[in-house]
């Protein structure tokens, strides 16, 4: 188990900067998930850690040692690619042993390691098959197996589940979590899927535009998002943002009073109230009333009902109601929310008040 330290890590292609100074420490045995929209730099960051992209500035340390100039093979890492990157002309056994053979490990030890990894991943019957004879899920296991046999200090996963169907994705997600629990290695996992991030991570790092927006445990990120971007990115359906209006003035500043928390904004500042769809309740008396929603569209998920609609001032709002609700487009629903579960963001999108419990 090894720690990683990224200090002011930068990446630029010519004059274009894509990673703007990332600072992050990953503890031994931690599973950290990099999450963010396309183009946020999460894969680039992972590839820089792997040694597949040169680091333009800053320092990368793995296990306390500077790694910037070391080739990928000397960093003690193993990587699982989105495409699996299995060698199509080699059997599963050969795929898994290729790296060990390259390192000139004795045959007996190679065989033993491959066998052990295959047992962990339950792919022993597949060892003599070629990748083209395997299903997507099986290929994924082989790709993970190829990483395991190398006994790396750090596992890197680059969107490993994105080529699997929904059911297999859930199943493999659970298996990766179990694998992490079993072998306890340090892992970095890149995904754009916030459910994967929430379910797998010890710690989530939310990236946007080559910067870390927030790093924290999944519930920290969910309960106390640092800004409007993080609040909107984590959670499904995404958080509602309601533009607020001024309640009273104190001199030249504006104060919002939310659940007893005073928020002072400079004159002219705008602010938004953030409330997650699952925190909205139907009924005027179940928290603070937010007004009446006109329903425009209803999604029945069986266990939940997702209701889309608008407030009288035309601001869109989405509410997730428990169970099956007989709501139809055109209905008027009085909504309320517990302000303790709401967030306020200032005009720059910073989270302005710690309202959540």
């Amino acid at each position: 188990m090894t720690s990683l330290t990224l200090t002011d890590i930068r990446k630029s292609y010519g004059t274009v900067d894509v990673i703007h100074g990332v600072d992050l420490r990953i503890e031994p045995g931690e599973l950290v998930v990099f999450v963010g929209p396309s183009g946020c730099g999460k894969s680039t960051l992972l590839r820089m850690i792997a040694g597949l992209e040169p680091i333009s500035g800053g320092e990368l340390r793995i296990g306390g040692q500077r790694m910037n100039e070391r080739p990928a093979s000397e960093r003690g890492i193993a990587m699982v690619f989105q495409s699996y990157a299995l060698y199509p002309h080699m059997s599963v056994r050969k795929n898994m042993s290729f790296g060990l053979e390259t390192a000139r490990m004795p045959r007996a030890e190679i065989d033993q390691r491959v066998q052990k990894a295959a047992e962990i991943l339950q792919i022993v019957p597949l060892l003599d098959r070629k990748p083209k004879q395997l299903s997507g899920g099986q290929r994924q296991r082989v790709a993970i197996g190829r990483a395991i046999v190398r006994d790396p200090q750090v596992f890197l996963f680059d969107e490993p589940l994105s080529n699997l169907d929904a059911e297999l994705r859930v199943q493999t997600r659970v298996e990766i979590a179990k694998l992490h629990a079993d072998i306890g290695a340090t892992m970095i996992y890149v995904t754009h899927d916030q459910v994967e991030a929430m379910t797998l991570a010890d710690r989530i790092v939310v990236l946007r535009g080559g910067r870390i927006e927030q790093a924290g445990t999944p519930l920290e990120i969910y309960n106390r998002p640092a800004n409007r971007f993080v609040a909107g990115f984590i959670g499904s359906p995404k958080m509602n943002f309601l533009e607020t209006s001024i309640s009273r003035r104190i001199g030249s500043d504006v104060a919002l009073d939310l659940a007893g928390t005073q928020l002072v904004l400079r004159n002219g500042d705008a602010a938004a109230l953030g409330v997650r769809p699952e925190h909205l309740k139907v009924g005027a008396d179940r928290g603070t009333s937010l007004g009446q929603m006109t329903v425009t569209h209803v999604e029945q998920l069986g266990g939940q009902t997702i209701v889309h609609g608008r407030f009288p001032d035309q601001q869109p709002i989405v509410a997730t109601l428990e169970g099956q609700n007989s709501v139809e487009a055109g209905d008027l629903l009085p909504l309320s929310a517990d302000l303790a579960q709401c967030h306020v963001f200032d005009a720059e999108g910073r989270r302005a008040a710690a309202l959540a419990a």
Binding site: A50, G51, S73, E74, M79, S83, A85, P88, H89, F98
Partner: protein
Amino acid sequence: MSVNEAPLYRAPLWLRFKGQLAGYGFLSPWLIGLFALTLGPAVSSLYLSMTDYSLMSSPRWVGADNYVRIASDDPRFRAAMNVTFTYVLLSVPLKLIFALAIAVLLNKGLKGLNWFRAIFYLPSLIGGSVAIAVLWRQVFASDGIINQVLMAVFNYEGPSWIANPNTAIYTLVALAVWQFGSSMIIFLAGLRQIPTDMYEAASIDGASRARQFFKITLPLLTPVIFFNAVILTIDAFKAFTPAFVISDGSGGPIDSTLFYTLYLYQEAFTNFRFGYASALAWVLVAIIAGFTALAFLSAKYWVHYDD
């Protein structure tokens, strides 16, 4: 509808053909070419190969006599086989190696890649022409540029490469290898098909450039190597122009550049033994078919297809 149930109505053949007439009409330029210029002569040459047809007399049936003579009593046929096999077995592998090496270099993401690709491809465009063969004769002549360079650099007086029966064939091999362009383009396309993450995975696995080439590039390129090898082999067996021009149609010196096709040509158009030449042509077809069949049979042992 069950599988064995007959369709309710099926138009008679002539009616169905009538419906497709326009289609055949549009196909006709190609169809006429196929029947009149390719299939017709091919079938008639099969017939002629079993006659003693010469331009002077009408064909007389001789059965397998021509083939028997080819197999048992024709020293020039054996000379031609010797020359042709030497040419095929040297030029094809050399050309493959050359084309692959240059393609690998060009695949490194070089600046001005398109220019280099065009320049390297140029010999393939013009290489088969008479003009280049004439030029080649000059280059390898006793006072040609090769010998001038040898003289200037190594102070070595080279022979007349083309006039020397021991070296003449190698000048033709060199001419063939020089035309590596089209194979190179195909290799380049093949190299581009190999996903980069395959190399990234290999570099994380610690594989050196050389190991990556031999363990990943080469195996993944085997379908392209196979394709190129088959095409080049067939082309090499059919090679005619360079030998014809360089030896002035004689196949000399001392039959040392007597390509199979050149011998066939001499039999047909110098000696007017069309029957015998036809038999030679069909023997060449059999040899090429045999080689190609062998290649396909061997493919399952060394060619890796992805799907």
